[in-house]
C-alpha cells in the first residue's frame, strides 16, 4: 500500500517535470514575444528600446539557462515576476485561486446534488417517460457549449429579473453573493451533473439486477429503503470517477464561464496571460493546473482503493 503510494508520487514528479519542459518549449516557439506585445499598445517604437526590454527580461539568454532559472526559482518558491504587471507572479496568482476554487467546488457540489438523485430516479424508473426525459436532458447538457449556456443564462436574468449575477467584489446582500457564485457554478456544473447522472443511472441498473438486492427485497425491506441504502452506496464510485475525469474538463468550462460572468479567477487569467505572452505567468499557471489535476487523480485513486477493497488487491 505504502509502496504503491510512493511509486505514484514518484511518477507524479516525473510527469510534472515533463509538463514543465513541454510548456516551456511550447511557449518559446510562439512567434512574437512579450516585447512585441508591449510595443503593440504603443504602435512602433525604437528598436533599441525594444532590445533593452528583451535584455532586461532575459529573453536573449539561451533556452536552457532560462529554463534552469525558472525551475531553480520554483524550488525556492520564487515564481518570478510578471512581465506585464512587474509584480511577483505569486502575488498575482494567489488571490485568484480561492475564487476559482470556490466556483469549482460549488460546481461539483451542484453536479453531485443534482446528478445523483436524478440518476437514481432514472434508474429506478427505467424506461419510463421520466427516464427518457432525464436522459435526453442530460445528453443535451453534454451537447451545449458552456459559454453559450452562460450567455443565455445572463440574458435571461436581465430580461426576467432585471439583475445580473456577475462578479462583484463586495456583494450588497447575501442573496447577491449566492447568486454571484451560484449561477455561474450551476452553469459550469450542468455538464458534470449530466455526466454523473448517466454514470449513476447505469451503475444503479447494474446493482439493481444483482442478487443481493433481490435478497434484501425478499427479506421484506421496503422498496425505497432497498434502493437507497444498497444501491446508492454503489453510486459513490461513479461519482468519484467523474470527479477525477471532470477536474480537467471543469477547468475548460471555468475558462469560458469566468470570461462570460467576468469572474477574476485563475482560469480567465490564464487566457489573458497567454494573450500577453506573459511567459512567467503562463508557465506557472499551467504548472499549477497540472499539479491540481495530478493531485486530484492521485486522491481519486486512493479514494477508490478505500471505497472498493477489490482495487486494493489489484494494486
Amino acid at each position: 500500500m505504502l509502496d504503491y503510494i510512493l511509486r505514484r508520487i514518484g511518477l507524479m514528479v516525473l510527469t510534472l517535470f515533463g509538463v514543465s519542459v513541454a510548456i516551456f518549449l511550447l511557449l518559446r516557439i510562439v512567434p512574437g514575444n512579450i516585447a512585441d506585445i508591449l510595443f503593440d499598445s504603443a504602435g512602433l517604437v525604437d528598436p533599441a528600446e525594444k532590445q533593452q526590454i528583451i535584455t532586461d527580461l532575459g529573453l536573449d539568454q539561451p533556452l536552457v539557462t532560462q529554463y534552469v532559472h525558472w525551475i531553480a526559482g520554483l524550488a525556492h518558491g520564487d515564481l518570478g515576476y510578471s512581465y506585464v504587471s512587474e509584480k511577483p507572479v505569486l502575488d498575482e496568482v494567489l488571490p485568484r485561486i480561492p475564487i476559482t476554487a470556490k466556483l469549482a467546488g460549488l460546481a461539483l457540489l451542484f453536479a453531485v446534488c443534482t446528478g445523483v438523485p436524478f440518476g437514481v430516479i432514472s434508474a429506478v424508473r427505467q424506461n419510463s417517460w421520466l427516464d427518457y426525459v432525464l436522459r435526453v436532458i442530460s445528453l443535451a447538457a453534454l451537447s451545449m457549449p458552456s459559454f453559450w449556456l452562460g450567455l443565455l443564462v445572463l440574458m435571461g436574468f436581465v430580461n426576467w429579473f432585471g439583475i445580473l449575477p456577475i462578479y462583484d467584489k463586495a456583494p450588497a446582500t447575501w442573496g447577491a453573493a449566492i447568486l454571484m457564485f451560484g449561477v455561474p457554478a450551476a452553469t459550469v456544473g450542468f455538464r458534470s451533473s449530466a455526466l454523473i447522472m448517466r454514470l449513476t443511472r447505469s451503475s444503479m441498473l447494474e446493482v439493481l439486477r444483482q442478487d443481493y438486492v433481490r435478497t434484501a427485497r425478499s427479506k421484506g425491506l421496503s422498496e425505497p429503503a432497498v434502493t437507497f441504502i444498497h444501491a446508492l452506496r454503489n453510486a459513490v464510485l461513479p461519482v468519484i470517477t467523474t470527479i477525477g475525469i471532470e477536474t480537467a474538463f471543469l477547468f475548460g468550462g471555468l475558462i469560458v464561464t469566468e470570461t462570460v460572468f467576468n469572474i477574476p479567477g485563475v482560469a480567465r487569467f490564464l487566457v489573458e496571460a497567454i494573450r500577453w505572452r506573459d511567459y512567467p505567468m503562463v508557465q506557472n499557471l499551467v504548472m499549477f493546473i497540472a499539479i491540481v489535476v495530478v493531485l486530484v487523480n492521485l486522491i481519486v485513486d486512493l479514494a477508490y482503493m478505500f471505497v472498493d477493497p477489490r482495487i486494493r488487491l489489484r494494486a
Binding site: 514575444n33 512585441d36 504603443a42 512587474e86 445572463l154 445580473l164 462570460v260 477574476p264
Partner: protein, 528 residues
C-alpha cells in the same frame, strides 16, 4: 404676459435651486473598462486603456478647456502652468508654474519636474522610460531651462504653435522626478485630483480622492473604480442592469450605443470621434503594386459610404487624413471635399473606371488578380478588411484575408512585409503636425507605405510654423488633397463610438474630436 413672466420666475427659481442642489460630494463612480491596460504609465503607453483610468492621477502644464466640446488650439487653459508667453520670434515658450502644489507622496512640485519630464520625452535622459511612443512630437525642442522653482523655459528650433496642443493632450502629464519609472508603471504618483489606490491585473483599477488637491473644493467623488470586462456582451448587460455608472469611453459601436439606449432608455449617450481612421496600405515597393495604375484602380473600388453604413449605420465620417468637420477642425469642408478625386460620390462610375484599368493590365472576370489582404486579428480591423475584400472583387481582385496576431502585425508592418493591408490607426490629438509628422514624413517609423514626397515635406514644415489659424487650415487642406490624390495611404473612414452614463452621473463633458482628453474627473459628481 403676466403668465409668461410668472413662468420665467419659476424657471429662474428652479434653475437656482438646481445649482444649489448640484454638486454633491462623495460616492464611488463605477466605470467599465474594456481590457487590461499594459501599464499605468501614461507617458509610456499609447492606448486609451491607460489614459482614461490614469489621466486623473496627473496634471498637465496646460489643458484643453474641459468645458469646451472641441479640443482646439485656441481653447487651451492653465493647469499646472498658470500662464505662458511666447518670445524670441516665437522660438521661446515660458511657463509660470503654480505654487504650493504637492505630489501625492507629499513632495513639492517644482520646475525641475517639468524639465525632467520633457528631458525624458525628448530622449535627452535615457533609461527612465521603457517605451517612448511619442518622441516624434517633441522633435522641435532644443533645450529646457528652469528659472527658479516656478518658471520653466522651452527653447524651440522653429516656431511651432501646435506644440501647445501637444502639451494640452492627455498624453502629456508632468511626471515626478523623484519616482523611478517602474514605479510609475505599477503605482503612479501625480499631482492630480485622484490618487492611485490599486491596480489588480485583469480585474480592476481603483483611484481615491486626493484630499490635498490644489484646486479648492475638487474633486467631488470619493473614489473611482474601473472594472475590467473584456467581454462586451457581459459589459453591456452589466450596464443595462445598472451595475455601472459610466461605460468605458468609445467602447460602444454606434449600433451598440443605439441598442443600449433601447434597453436602458434613461442612459445618456454621446457618439464622439475616436480619432481612429481606417486606411488602406498598399506596398508601393512590391510588384505588381509598384504600378501606379493598379493602386489607382484599388482606390476607385472603395465605396467609403458602404464602409460607414455597414460598420456604423452611416455615422462614420468621410474625409482625408485630418478629421473632417464638424468634429474635426483641420479636415476638409464638404465643398472642398467634392474637388478631391475619388470623393465624388458615384461609386459605380469609379468602379467602371477601375475595371477598365484592370482590363488594360490583362485582368478580367476569368483572370482575377489574387492577393492577400493582411490585417490585425481584432474585430475593428477584421470587419473593415472583410468589406475591403468584398469591394475589391468589383475590379477583378480576389482577396484572401490574412489575419495576424497583434505582435506579428506590427513587426510585419515595420518590415514592410505585406502587399495590401487594412489598417485602423489612432491619432490622439486633432492636429496636422501630429498627423503629418507621424505618418507621412519620408522615413518616419509609422510611414508604413514608404510614401515620400520632398515638396510636400516642405509644406509640412511651412504649415507647422504658421500662426494664422485660418491660413494654416487652407494649406493643410491642400496638403491633404495631394496626399489622397497620390494614394499615399487612402483614408477610408473616420470612426466614431459611443460613451454612455446613467443620469445620476453629472459633470461629464465629452470632447467631440478626441477620446484621449477630458478624463480628469474632477468636475464629476454623483447624485445619489
Amino acid at each position: 404676459m403676466m403668465r409668461s413672466r410668472l413662468w420665467l420666475t419659476v424657471a429662474c427659481l428652479l434653475a437656482t435651486m438646481g445649482t444649489a442642489m448640484a454638486q454633491k460630494k462623495g460616492g464611488t463612480l463605477r466605470v467599465t473598462h474594456r481590457d487590461n491596460p499594459p501599464s499605468a504609465s501614461v507617458l509610456e503607453e499609447a492606448t486609451i486603456s491607460t489614459i482614461m483610468p490614469f489621466m486623473s492621477v496627473f496634471n498637465n502644464l496646460v489643458v484643453f478647456d474641459p468645458a469646451s466640446k472641441l479640443n482646439r488650439l485656441d481653447r487651451i487653459v492653465p493647469d499646472l502652468a498658470t500662464s505662458w508667453a511666447w518670445s524670441d520670434g516665437d522660438r521661446t515658450l515660458t511657463f509660470q508654474l503654480r505654487d504650493g502644489v504637492k505630489w501625492h507622496d507629499g513632495k513639492p512640485f517644482t520646475s525641475a519636474d517639468v524639465k525632467c519630464t520633457w528631458d525624458m520625452l525628448t530622449g535627452k535622459v535615457n533609461g527612465k522610460l521603457r517605451k517612448n511612443p511619442r518622441k516624434t512630437w517633441w522633435f522641435n525642442i532644443k533645450d529646457i531651462v528652469t528659472n527658479g522653482d516656478h518658471e520653466v523655459i522651452f527653447h524651440l528650433n522653429d516656431p511651432q504653435p501646435s506644440i501647445m496642443a501637444m502639451f494640452a493632450g492627455g498624453f502629456s502629464p508632468v511626471y515626478p522626478c523623484h519616482v523611478p519609472a517602474n514605479e510609475m508603471r505599477t503605482h503612479p504618483i501625480g499631482t492630480g485630483p485622484f490618487k492611485f489606490a490599486e491596480f489588480k491585473q485583469n480585474e480592476s483599477i481603483r483611484l481615491v480622492r486626493n484630499p490635498d488637491y490644489w484646486k479648492p473644493g475638487r474633486p467631488y467623488l470619493d473614489a473611482i473604480e474601473f472594472t475590467i470586462i473584456p467581454n462586451r456582451s457581459t459589459m453591456l448587460l452589466a450596464m443595462v442592469a445598472g451595475k455601472f455608472d459610466l461605460t468605458f469611453t468609445s467602447d460602444l459601436t454606434p449600433e451598440l450605443t443605439k441598442s443600449l439606449q433601447e434597453q436602458a432608455p434613461a442612459t445618456q449617450c454621446v457618439l464622439q470621434s475616436t480619432g481612429t481612421q481606417g486606411n488602406l496600405l498598399v506596398n508601393r515597393d512590391r510588384a505588381p503594386f509598384d504600378n501606379e495604375q493598379i493602386r489607382k484602380a484599388m482606390v476607385l473600388a472603395i465605396d467609403r459610404k458602404a464602409f460607414s453604413d455597414i460598420l456604423s449605420r452611416g455615422t462614420f465620417e468621410i474625409g482625408g487624413a485630418n478629421l473632417p468637420p464638424p468634429e474635426g477642425f483641420w479636415g476638409w469642408s464638404k465643398e472642398y471635399m467634392e474637388t478631391v478625386p475619388g470623393y465624388g460620390g458615384d461609386v459605380e462610375k469609379s468602379r467602371e473606371e477601375g475595371r477598365r484599368i484592370m482590363k488594360s493590365l490583362g485582368y478580367g472576370p476569368d483572370n482575377m488578380m489574387q492577393l492577400k489582404v493582411t490585417t490585425r486579428n481584432i474585430p475593428d480591423y477584421r470587419d473593415a478588411a472583410v468589406i475591403l475584400i468584398d469591394h475589391l472583387k468589383s475590379i477583378y481582385i480576389q482577396g484572401e484575408l490574412e489575419p495576424l496576431d497583434s505582435s506579428v502585425w506590427y513587426a510585419r508592418l515595420a518590415r514592410k512585409d505585406f502587399s495590401v493591408a487594412m489598417n485602423v490607426q489612432g491619432t490622439s490629438i486633432d492636429d496636422p503636425d501630429v498627423q503629418f509628422f507621424e505618418n507621412y514624413l519620408c522615413g518616419s517609423e509609422r510611414n508604413y507605405t514608404s510614401y515620400c514626397n520632398a515638396d510636400l515635406e516642405k509644406l509640412f514644415h511651412q504649415q507647422s510654423q504658421m500662426k494664422d489659424i485660418d491660413a494654416r487650415r487652407k494649406l493643410v487642406w491642400d496638403i491633404d488633397k495631394t496626399l489622397q490624390a497620390d494614394g499615399a495611404r487612402p483614408v477610408v473612414f473616420h470612426a466614431k463610438a459611443g460613451t454612455c452614463w446613467w443620469p445620476r452621473v453629472h459633470g461629464i463633458n465629452i470632447a467631440m474630436n478626441t477620446i484621449y482628453n477630458h478624463w480628469r474627473f474632477e468636475d464629476v459628481w454623483l447624485d445619489q
